[in-house]
């Protein structure tokens, strides 16, 4: 291929990739009548009414707040628990360590639907139903194994001698871990947090099953396609466009480290 046409393939690829997103964003500026009326590439009647509804109606904006709360709790919880676990896997040899490590990964292979019912029953029994904590804990099911996997890769890249030198230099284990080790693998923690955030943010089934009103996530709100006033497709498109934003912000901060995570084959 000549130099002048080299840009063609990537451009087409990106174009196809962006097309549905463009469709969504453009729809969010249309009225429902226009959407139902037929296809148009640009909004004929440009309107911000859909966004206005989302930012003023508590049933909508609370969805975002609820989602953000449980996602943040889940991310912090997953990383906090995974740090010592990943350290153990990367530094110590113990009976069945390799099997256990692989078993962690298999937790990601089971569809969340399998766990929905037992979680529902359990959380109802201990009064956690319809709380942010319930969803955050349920999402730990797949996020902790993921976090352990990613962090283990980053930790194994740090030579064991770093630990040994710190101990020789007179640091206790806990001081070493917090003051030296965590800053050393900060990039890895960033990448891990991003993936925990992302998986928790997009998960719908568990989040929907375990909440009803108080902790209802935005994705569940969005499944409500019709209301008393008929179809609200414009509103849905606006809500969808807004769900992309948090992920985009987070990925901006870890963009330089993500590639490293992929290179380790852990993502």
């Amino acid at each position: 291929m000549t130099r002048s046409t080299k840009w063609l393939v990537p451009t087409l690829y990106i174009l196809f990739l962006m097309l549905p997103i463009y469709g969504l964003v453009s729809m969010s500026f249309k009225t429902t009548t226009e959407i139902l009326g037929g296809f148009s590439f640009f909004p004929q009647e440009f309107t911000l009414a859909n966004y206005k509804v989302i930012f003023t109606d508590p049933t909508w904006y609370n969805g975002y707040i609820n989602s953000i709360i449980y996602v943040v709790i889940n991310t912090l919880l997953s990383v906090t628990v995974a740090l010592p676990a990943a350290y153990a896997f990367s530094r110590y040899r113990f009976l069945g360590d390799k099997h256990l490590f692989f078993w962690l990964l298999t937790n990601r292979m089971a569809p969340p639907a399998v766990f929905a019912l037992p979680f529902f029953q359990l959380y109802s029994a201990i009064n956690l139903f319809d709380t942010h904590l319930a969803v955050a804990l349920a999402h730990c099911l797949f996020n902790i194994p993921l976090a352990v996997w990613i962090l283990e890769g980053f930790m194994s890249g740090v030579p064991k001698e770093l630990d040994e030198t710190a101990f020789l230099d007179g640091y206790s284990f806990s001081r070493f871990f917090i003051r030296i080790f965590i800053p050393t693998i900060a990039a890895g923690i960033g990448v891990t947090m991003f993936f925990c955030f992302m998986y928790s943010w997009v998960e719908l089934l568990l989040a929907k099953t375990l909440t009803s009103v108080d902790a209802k996530p935005i994705a569940a709100t969005m499944t409500r396609t019709a209301s008393s006033s008929g179809y609200e497709l414009g509103l849905l498109a606006a809500a969808g466009s807004l769900t992309i934003i948090p992920g985009a912000i987070v990925i901006y901060f870890v963009r330089n480290y993500i590639a490293k995570g992929f290179a380790l084959g852990r993502v």
């Binding site: 040899r93 030579p159 040994e164 030198t165 020789l168 230099d169 007179g170 206790s172």
Partner: protein
């Protein structure tokens, strides 16, 4: 400062399931005198690093005890042993500056900041790091980082011992010489015990007052470089030290003297009594000379190495290495060689037979 003593130390790493443990260290009884400069020499996998890690406390030996000045420290944590250790590959705290890296062990011990500064600057000067003190350690080259590791090992003056685990592997040859002589200089100034692990005999022989040769989990000989050269106690020492290594041939012993392919060899160390086991005779290439009557040989190869020449000879099927001076003549016809009786020794199952009568 302390005298470090190993008493019956053995160590085995956890074996794979269903197998007997293999000892990485096999019964070590060894005293490291306070203020000594030791080199620990041996091939890869002979237990050198295990031994260092046992001294510093990173490993607890499976059996035996370690004593510092008579006090048992076998189960002490690393922080209580006051040992500095430098590893083969650079270990730096990436998030800190070079200065903070070097100051780290001192600050951890609560040293006053003015003293810290003074000491760090002194060490930085010695290692040519003064210009980099304010830089972040992460940005340095591999040998720059290794210099920080070295500096961190040397910065404390109150340690019991400084352990070096092949510290100059990543440093380029020119700088190697320089750093090694700096280390030696520092040893003379401070007089702290230094143990230097290496598998390079030149490095070991130039650095140390005493060389500890390890082989297969055992300390086979401890001695000055001259002792190791003149009187190897184990065939491994003979062959590991010296270039080329010692000639070792199987032999039988007759009347206390070795017989090598029906040639009775003269030795000034006659063996007393009967010997059982694998018998060998050892002689260094430097202690072989041409003689009118002796063992007939064929010259296979002559290598001129500048100040001396290395000859490869054969007698029957045995290969004999011999070293002669550069300008020495090589007999053209029927060359015969003779071994120096003072340096011809008998080994039984690889160990030197020490019960001898001086003939």
């Amino acid at each position: 400062m302390a005298r470090i003593r190993f008493r019956n130390v053995r160590h085995a790493y956890p074996p794979p399931k269903g197998q007997d443990p293999v000892y990485a260290l096999n019964e070590i009884n060894q005293v490291w005198e306070d203020g000594g400069a030791y080199a620990l020499l041996g091939p890869s996998g002979c237990g050198k690093t295990t031994l260092l890690n046992i001294i510093s406390g990173l490993l607890t030996p499976s059996e035996g005890e370690i004593l510092f000045d008579g006090e048992e420290v076998t189960h002490f944590p690393t922080s209580r042993r006051q040992i500095a250790q430098v590893f083969q590959f650079p270990v730096v705290y990436d998030t800190m500056t070079v200065f903070d890296n070097l100051a780290f062990p001192l600050r951890n011990r609560g040293m006053a900041e003015t003293l810290v500064k003074e000491r760090v600057e002194q060490i930085a000067q010695m290692l040519d790091l003064t210009a980099n003190l304010k830089k972040r350690a992460a940005g340095l080259t591999a040998d720059g980082k290794q210099k920080i590791s070295l500096g961190r090992g040397l910065v404390r003056s109150d340690v019991n011992a400084i352990l070096f685990d092949e510290p100059l592997t990543v440093i380029d040859p020119h700088l190697k010489w320089q750093l090694r002589s700096k280390l030696k200089e520092l040893h003379q100034q401070v007089g702290v015990t230094m143990i230097y692990v290496t598998h390079d005999q030149v490095e070991a022989l130039t650095f140390a007052e005493k060389v500890v040769v390890m082989y297969d989990g055992l300390v086979v000989q401890v001695g000055t470089p001259v002792e190791l050269f003149n009187q190897p106690r184990h065939t491994f020492v003979g062959y590991f030290i010296g270039s080329p290594g010692m000639n070792v041939f199987s032999c039988r012993v007759d009347g206390g003297q070795p017989v090598f392919h029906n040639n009775l060899l003269k030795t000034s160390h006659r063996v007393k009594g009967e010997l059982h086991g694998k018998l060998e005779v050892g002689v260094r290439p430097e202690f072989i000379e041409f003689a009118r009557d002796g063992i007939p040989v064929r010259i296979e190869k002559i290598e001129d190495l500048g100040r001396y020449q290395v000859l490869t000879l054969t007698h029957e099927s045995e290969i004999i290495k011999m070293v002669i001076k550069e300008d020495q003549d090589i007999p053209a016809e029927n060359p015969r060689i003779q071994f120096d009786p003072d340096h011809t020794r008998i080994y039984c199952d690889d160990w030197l037979v020490e019960e001898t009568i001086h003939a």
